[in-house]
């Protein structure tokens, strides 16, 4: 079975400051890793994903995440946040083989202040 721990339930940060949202996972099999973003009263949007290859993955809006197998982590980072980044961020895993069941972390609420 897999599990995901997002270490911070809320992260307040000022605009243009860097941010890191932490995610650790547990699994006995190899996994794919995802970050989803959820804006208020909306569904989830895929931000970025790690399937294989380079351990550093990037999104089109400046976020990046690094897969660290030894530390079982997949932390999300952005060097300079905007007000519009305010949202809930969910880390998720799924086994890389077999049934694609997404296991989500509890979420981190990122609040960007002016």
């Amino acid at each position: 079975a897999q599990s995901v721990t997002q270490l911070d339930s809320q992260v307040p940060v000022f605009e243009e400051a860097p941010v890191e949202l932490r995610c650790n996972y547990s699994s006995s099999v190899s996994v794919y890793l995802f970050w989803y973003v959820q804006y208020p009263n909306q569904g989830l949007q895929l931000l970025l994903k790690y399937l294989s290859g380079s351990t550093l993955v990037e999104s089109i809006n400046g976020f990046e995440a690094e897969f660290n197998k030894s530390q079982t982590s997949f932390h999300l980072r952005k060097p300079s946040v905007h007000i519009s980044d305010t949202a809930e961020y969910f880390c998720a895993v799924t086994p890389s083989r077999g049934y694609n069941k997404l296991i989500f972390g509890a979420g981190t609420r990122l609040a960007v202040h002016p």
Binding site: G43, L44, F90, G98, N100, G107
Partner: protein
């Protein structure tokens, strides 16, 4: 644009009164999922369809049922909603069981 559509966006029902939530997709994906997301919690998978094959999660209450009459549509039926069933219900699709999941905007259910 290809997308996942959920109707209605907001649904109010009374305690014990059956309610149906709707999801449609224009992506022609084989797999459709229903998630329940309670306030400030992670989405939790209720069940999924792989084509016409229904797969229920072990801890999904019997009160929740689903129908998929064709590739494009999937319905979530709550037979006797309780106060604890108030939540956001998210529909998602993927091309196959290993594919990326695309989410709809969700339906927020209120139970009075």
């Amino acid at each position: 644009d290809a997308m996942v559509i959920q109707n209605p966006r907001y649904q109010v029902t009374q305690f014990g009164k059956p309610v149906t939530l709707s999801c449609s997709q224009t992506l022609n994906h084989n797999v459709m999922y229903w998630y329940q997301q309670k306030s400030s919690q992670a989405p939790k998978l209720l069940f999924h369809y792989y084509d016409k094959d229904f797969n229920n999660e072990a801890d999904t209450p019997d009160n929740f049922q689903s129908r998929r009459p064709n590739t494009s549509f999937c319905f979530l039926d709550i037979r006797s909603p309780g106060l604890g069933d108030a939540a956001m219900y998210l529909c998602a699709t993927s091309r196959d069981r290993l594919g990326e999941q695309f989410f709809g905007p969700g339906t927020r259910l209120t139970v009075l």
